[in-house]
Symmetry: C2
Subunit: 460 residues, 2 copies
């Protein structure tokens, strides 16, 4: 019997027991953003520490931080073999509006082979799978083919404010060969995905001031600059008619897509018509020479997120506005640096500043982009593990969004990060009726088990 | 004794009586915008009709309209002499916030030779001066040197919705040689002004729509057009870096300034530094080759009055906005036509519309620009009358603002319009503590009396 068959038998036999265990974890209302759940955060951390200990994971600790605790554990009895650092989070999103839930968010319920509960998909269900994959190997082989470490935090949903410092302080303890995170989604139902890159983020607010107060457009119009016009000139200068960013130096450090990556994206046969339908536009828009997936996964952006100034009520008010502002964010790709990009934005804004106004710029938080090279063995191994279980080619994807902690992790520990998720984008992660398709719970356990063997076969 | 000396004596002797009469007029709270004052509007109209009748003005009528009544009257016993149509309004602005008034708005009070009351300057005080100028001529000479007609409306402060139709219907009855309006201001304290032009107004609202709802800027950014960017491109395309409007054909019908006009403006020695101080800017801004007065009086404008779209709260929200909008108004100068200008704006917007968005345009009300040629005898005569009383050169000005009824008047009746006002811009017309400098009440009566002789000497 192959190890994959052994795993299959083990998971089939223990499915009910596993789901019952998961339910006890899901019942803990570990909402990190609400102070009234502070004790529940400790309860969830203890539940996890206990679960790790039961697995014979060693040196399990609940490490207090300035916020909610980090749960650590390790098993290092595979000498000469690689070490996987498993990352996940036990905190969940708030649940309001409660009346839109069909069953109580902390009373897990299976309907139509989907497990409904807050955290079922994001991320308690997937953290639990890490534990059960290990359990299966221990139970069927008495050991693990690799060394493992766990770091499970309680502040992911509030931006991981204390994790970078924790990782920095525990750099040696967390040393490993790769970081494995299961907190993302399949490419589509039945189609697994390895996400090997995420865009970073940075942004600024631009505030333009002309006169000291709004002026009568009849009395002063034509002789005093209008803050909105001055702002519009800056905003319009940022991109050309195809959306290509005109900020000098903006693309200098953009890592080009390899031919292999482009081929991998093409093979996904992304349906642009379906997308148009979904978002409700008749035409897409973006940099020439790049497909939609390339544009959103591997190219940086500059978007005005909001603009304001003057009169926006009903009808007409013939005012010459003294103030106007806009919020801008950029999605960044490797190897762009958020700090450098902000400096380029500032220089650009200064260059396009009109006569007769003052412009001030305030900066937003920054997050670096992340990438593990497409052809990195840990990425390709993940693709193979998925394929053995799902029996379809794995999608190699990047995410257009930003998870700053992923980039921070990779950078502080200098490790490749593998995002091997089992959710589906339709699973209402941050909304009422969050659920987890149990077919992916079942398949994912087998994939994770297999991945440990795949990693064990690699040399680092 | 010259007629000017006679007038002087008459006004001096009757000053107290005149002011007492004016106070009875000012005590009527004729606020046109508030329905609870509907009866007061009738009372004010009756007061005026009665005052006209007492002057031996004939065919006095209170003509009801769909709104507040128009008061009409005429005296046509100067055969072969010109006819002046006097226009004014008996309605006033609301008075709130009441607590900011130092004396009750409808209890006239003189402090420091200023008459404080709502309507004292705008426009009851100035309408009353028309009546008293006639009275002085009747009393001192037994007659008038010209024919006169009166049209005094009660809806100026709400945009004169019923006046154009009234004028159209009574075209023959209102036939005259010029229209005289006293509802504007001196150029400065002690420096009278004849306003011979006003800018017109037109405007549009631009609404841009991209996707059917706001999108996640990480997931879609780079592949779907952002409504704010599309809008900013349109807005930035309207003007160049000096504010010169780039809409094709926009300036085609602009009447150039004559050398005489430019000279008249130069002689005003307008203080640009004082203006900068007043509005709080370090640099002015406007079309090259024109002075500030030329820019604001005789050149058209295009101003964004308001802009809105996306997220404008505190901090950051990484949204790709589906909607954005802006309100635009243009001040127009002779011989621009508001309807044509809107058509040009629409063509321009269409030309600058980005891929991936829909743009809709809605139109605002339109008002034509007005001008009585600078060298028209009725304008130059007004300047002379002012100079005889004020003993300084008259300023020949235009107004940057728009009084649509003035242009409509001139156009329907095909008459030159003379704006010969006696207010000061500091007199809080539409604010608490409206007042009227009585030195201009006194001087103005003499100017108006003289002007009738000046007009009598002209041939039309």
């Amino acid at each position: 019997m192959s190890y994959l068959q052994q795993l299959d038998t083990y998971f089939t036999e223990n499915r009910d027991k596993h789901l019952q265990e998961l339910n006890t974890f899901l019942r803990i209302p570990s909402i990190s953003s609400l102070s009234e759940h502070k004790e529940d955060m400790q309860t969830a951390a203890k539940w996890l520490a206990n679960a790790l200990t039961n697995l014979t994971i060693e040196n399990v600790s609940i490490d207090q931080t300035a916020g909610h605790p980090v749960v650590y554990g390790e098993w290092l009895h595979a000498p000469g073999k690689p070490t996987i650092l498993f990352y996940g989070h036990y905190d969940v999103q708030p649940v309001d509006p409660l009346n839109l839930w069909d069953s109580a968010p902390f009373e897990p319920e299976i309907r139509d082979n989907k497990l409904f509960a807050r955290g079922s998909s994001d991320d308690k269900g997937q953290v639990f799978m890490h534990l059960k994959a290990l359990e299966a190997l221990f139970e069927t082989t008495g050991s693990l083919p690799v060394n493992v470490k766990f770091i499970i935090e309680g502040e992911e949903e509030i931006g991981s404010p204390n994790l970078p410092a924790y990782v920095e302080e525990n750099k040696e303890k967390l040393a490993a060969d790769l970081i494995l995170i299961s907190d993302t989604s399949l490419y589509a139902k039945g189609k697994p995905a390895v996400c090997y890159g995420l865009r970073g983020l940075t942004g600024v607010q631009i505030d333009v001031r002309g006169a000291k107060s709004d002026l009568h457009s009849g009395l002063y119009g034509g002789g005093v600059q209008n803050a909105i016009h001055a702002l519009a000139e800056i905003l319009a200068s940022f991109r050309d008619e195809h959306g290509t960013i005109q900020v000098e130096g903006f693309y200098d450090n953009v890592r080009p897509l390899s031919e292999e990556e482009r081929q991998a994206y093409r093979e996904l046969n992304f349906d642009e018509n379906e997308l148009k339908e979904e978002v409700g536009v008749t035409e897409l828009f973006g940099e020439e020479g790049y497909s939609y997936l390339e544009q959103t996964w591997a190219r940086p952006t500059l978007e005005v997120n909001g603009v304001f100034g003057g009169f926006s009520g009903e009808g007409i008010k013939t005012v010459l506005p003294a103030e106007a502002g806009a919020k801008i964010t950029c999605r960044l790709v490797p190897d762009q640096d958020p700090v450098e990009i902000v400096a380029l934005l500032k220089a650009h804004i200064e260059k396009y500043k009109s006569t007769g106004v003052e412009v001030s710029i305030s900066e937003f938080d920054k997050g670096k982009p992340f990438i593990t090279p497409f052809d990195h063995p840990v990425i390709q191994a993940a693709g193979r593990s998925y394929e053995k279980v799902y029996n379809v080619p794995t999608a190699y994807t990047r995410g257009g969004g930003s998870i700053p902690i992923v980039a921070a992790f990779g950078e502080i520990l200098n490790l490749p990060v593998v995002l091997m998720g089992f959710g589906l984008t339709s699973e209402n992660f941050h909304a009422p009726n969050e659920h987890f398709h149990l077919e992916n719970f079942d398949n994912g356990l087998r994939v994770l088990g297999d991945y440990m063997y795949e990693i064990a076969a690699l040399t680092f």
